[in-house]
Amino acid sequence: MGDRLTTSTLLVTEEDEKKHEIIRAKGEGKELTKEEKQRLRKEKKQHKKNKKDDRGPPEKEKEKEKASVPAPSKPATQSPAHKAAPVPVNASASESPVAAEKPAKSKAELRAERRARQDSERASKQGKKEGGQQSTSSKPKATPNELQPVVKRLPDHVQVDDPVALKKLAKKLERQQKSGQGCSLNITGVKVPLRSDYGYKVSLFSHLHQYSRKNPPTQQISIPVTVIHPSIVRLGLQYSQGIIAGSNARSVALLHAFKQVIQDYSTPPNEELSRDLVNKLSPYISFLSQCRPLSASMGNAIKYIKKEISNIPSQCKEEEAKRILQECIDSYINEKIILASEAISKYAIEKISDGDVILVYGCSSLVNHILCEAFEKQRKFRVIVVDSRPRLEGREALRRLVKKGIRCTYVLISALSYILPEVSKVFLGAHALLANGYVMSRVGTSQIALVAKAYNVPVLVCCETYKFCERVQTDSFVSNELDDPDDLIVTRNGKTHLENWQTVKSLGLLNLVYDVTPPDFVDLVITDLGMIPCTSVPVVLRVKNVDQ
């Protein structure tokens, strides 16, 4: 059954096969019933909706169906569109001109039936796929020769403007409270808190969350916390207050917290460690993403841990399993972060020559490490640190570099055109590298790359491979993070102009955290695998997937 799943394309041709699958799915293990119930609930909703939409013009419904098929990435309230959909819909499209003469009511009923059938097919497919994955987790993944279908769900944190998605998230957080406890305990009122947005959001970004630093979600949790491990609570607080910032620091802190969690974990009776621990981690992850949206590096780390946990053989003793997991996490940190930065420094130092004037932006731990190493290897260069409001992270980088003894200059980003004629190279850090070659980094990085290009100064981006992610993005709007807007307020000469910005109704403050740099501004990416152009990121991802 697993083989069938991996080798078949998702275009199902026979209706009978579908029915067999539904029956088989219903007869399978209990893990599917929850999903199945959800699907059935959705079908009922669809039914009711169709009966209501009866009165609407038949044209609109036709268009809606057709539109739902070619746009699988839209934040749909239904389950993700599968390729199974085109076939029955095309059939329906050919049917509809014939059915045009029939009265509207019967057409709606036909459509409702078709929709119910589609939903159940999708449900069975979903259930089968999950069941298949859990049973074949130890088997090697599908060979990369096959194109993996896009079955990704849109992440919650970019669906803030969709009230249905928000309700789903709230329900999910409530459910996680129950699943995390086990059936014997009976604690009420303790759940992963849902954080509410703060202040007026600029309309361009209404699909993103905007939180205030003064209301961390930890205030909404009562003490003692039984659902969430205390080290995770501490970590969440450190994230939301900005005490731990920077993608490497956040990932390392996350992994250390997970080590603590694994240390304190004990398998409840009648449960397997490989399954239960993964379920235990889910509410923690939801809590952390409520504190601050997860970064790409954190996402990759979590995927790695979950994979390692589910790879633990079932006959392994608990102590042994914990030791294995701790070692895995340590080796991950060591390989992907520490050794990777050593490798990157080695490559990058070749690019630094004597007499160079190097421009860096903000505080990137990797770039600072490179510069310190180069200075120790007796390269003669000086550094220009560019900084921007409101975070002013460059001051931290300045302190670290000056402590080493490197000659530094400090400017704000608005003085960039003044300082760039002196610069010979630009070194930038990255938060993530996207699959279409775009570099996602701190806001302002794209500006630096743009102006450097105008002055013909080479731009080098330094990034470890564990930060590569499969997402694609072309602008800084669709997926970003909005920081606390109160950070922009400043007092000069005793006057604070934006003090009461909340009371002025047409005023909005925008404090973006990330932006994307197009690949034509970047000349070279230095990774632990070597020096590659920006467009080779999907190649690296492919190679990594094969390795794993």
């Binding site: 000056v402 530094c408 608005s414 055109s417 794209s446 500006q447 047409s506 909005g508 403050l509 973006l512």
Partner: protein, 390 residues
């Protein structure tokens, strides 16, 4: 009009020059006899000139009053009118000499305030024109027009303005009054063109605070609805003032930090900025951060519109960094509270940016819209080439 940012001058040096001035003034008072009416006027005049100069020197620092370019232009022109009226001169040449001398002192007091020099050159041109008109000659502005004229008119250009005309003074003063009226109406003239350039539901981006742009946007907002994104322009953050002032007219405004300019540029329809000076090649000397804004607009093919009244047009070309840039205290960038690292670090806080003319789409001035390639022509109408060097 862009506010001059604060300057923390070197206090002891400034103090000593102030002292010297007051000393000199006192000496002058004690020396000139008090009962001659002509001398009275003279001391009054020189007093005013001195006070204007010290205002210029302190311009922008905490002690002096903050003034925009329009005010400076008006005050300069008023002062020049007073000089014309009260100083002793016999013919146009002498008047021009006096004005040139005072003008050199004024531009030396605050070199970055180019409107002062511009107004002086305008007045000099007015004097030349009035002189030419009094002489009755028809060759008013055609002197530099044709090469043929240049070759054939060899002798007549030795006109050294030595002839005396009785009505010259009155004519010149009248012409300066016209200039003053023109100066008063510049902002309104520019704002009147707003509706031609802004359509509804636009997203307009601007940087820092410019009174011309503010008036421009407010005028358009009376009839059209649009959004404005203001880049705050660190470290002085004048964008905040601009945003609060625009909100009072119910314009949807968003304040963004400078680092986000490129990130949001893809959603912007037009970029409208003000400037401190328009240079002779059509380039700009504007607040820092404007060059980045212009490059981002060019990358996204967004039009860049500069609202600048004519008195900001200066016959200077962009020089090397030592004469073009102006710096203020690095305390704005790296405050003294940072501690020890300050002694080991160079911090820079430049005030202006150069924007080359290729990045600019349109200039909107009180006489209408122009392309940057036309600026040289406008300049030849405003100033005489011999006045470019005061």
């Amino acid at each position: 009009e862009i506010h001059e940012p604060e300057e923390v001058s070197v206090w002891f040096r400034e103090g000593s020059s102030c002292c010297q001035e007051t000393l000199a003034r006192n000496q002058r008072f004690t020396e000139t006899p008090v009962n001659m009416p002509g001398a009275d006027k003279e001391t009054d005049l020189s007093e005013r000139i001195e006070s204007f100069l010290s205002e210029l020197k302190r311009c922008g620092s905490g002690a002096g009053s903050l003034r925009g370019s329009a005010e400076t232009a008006r005050e300069t022109t008023a002062l020049l009118r007073r000089i014309t009226a009260q100083a002793r001169w016999g013919n146009a040449g002498e008047l021009m000499e006096i004005i040139r001398k005072e003008g050199r002192r004024m531009t030396a007091a605050q070199p970055s305030e180019t409107t002062v020099g511009n107004m002086i050159r305008r007045v000099l041109k007015i004097i030349r024109e009035e002189y030419a008109r009094s002489r009755g000659s028809s060759e008013e502005t055609d002197q530099q027009e044709s090469l043929h004229k240049l070759l054939t008119s060899g002798g007549s250009s030795e006109d050294n303005f030595r002839q005396h005309f009785t009505h010259l003074k009155a004519n010149v003063i009248e012409a300066i009054n016209e200039l003053l009226t023109e100066l008063e109406g510049t902002t309104d003239n520019i704002s009147m063109q707003a509706l031609e350039h802004i359509h509804s539901n636009e997203v307009i981006m601007t940087i820092g605070r410019s009174r011309t742009v503010e008036a421009f946007l407010k005028d358009a907002a009376r009839k059209r609805k649009f959004h404005v994104i203001v880049a705050e322009c660190a470290p002085f953050c004048q964008g905040h003032e601009m945003a609060t002032s625009l909100c009072k007219e119910d314009i949807e405004t968003t304040v963004i930090p400078d680092a986000a300019i490129f990130a949001v540029m893809s959603r912007v329809n037009k970029v409208i900025i003000g400037t401190q000076t328009v240079l002779a090649n059509g380039g700009l000397r504007a607040v820092n951060g404007t060059h980045t804004l212009a490059l981002a607009a060019k990358h996204h093919s967004t039009p860049l519109i500069v609202c600048a009244p004519m008195f900001k047009l200066s016959p200077q070309f962009p020089n090397e960094e030592d004469t073009f840039h102006k710096f203020v205290s690095p305390h704005e960038v790296l405050p003294f509270t940072e501690g020890e690292i300050l002694s080991k670090v160079n911090a820079h806080c430049p005030v202006f940016d150069y924007v080359p003319p290729e990045l600019i789409t349109l200039f909107i001035s009180n006489i209408g819209g122009n392309a940057p390639s036309y600026i040289y022509r406008l300049m030849s109408e405003l100033y005489h080439p011999e006045d470019h060097e005061l």
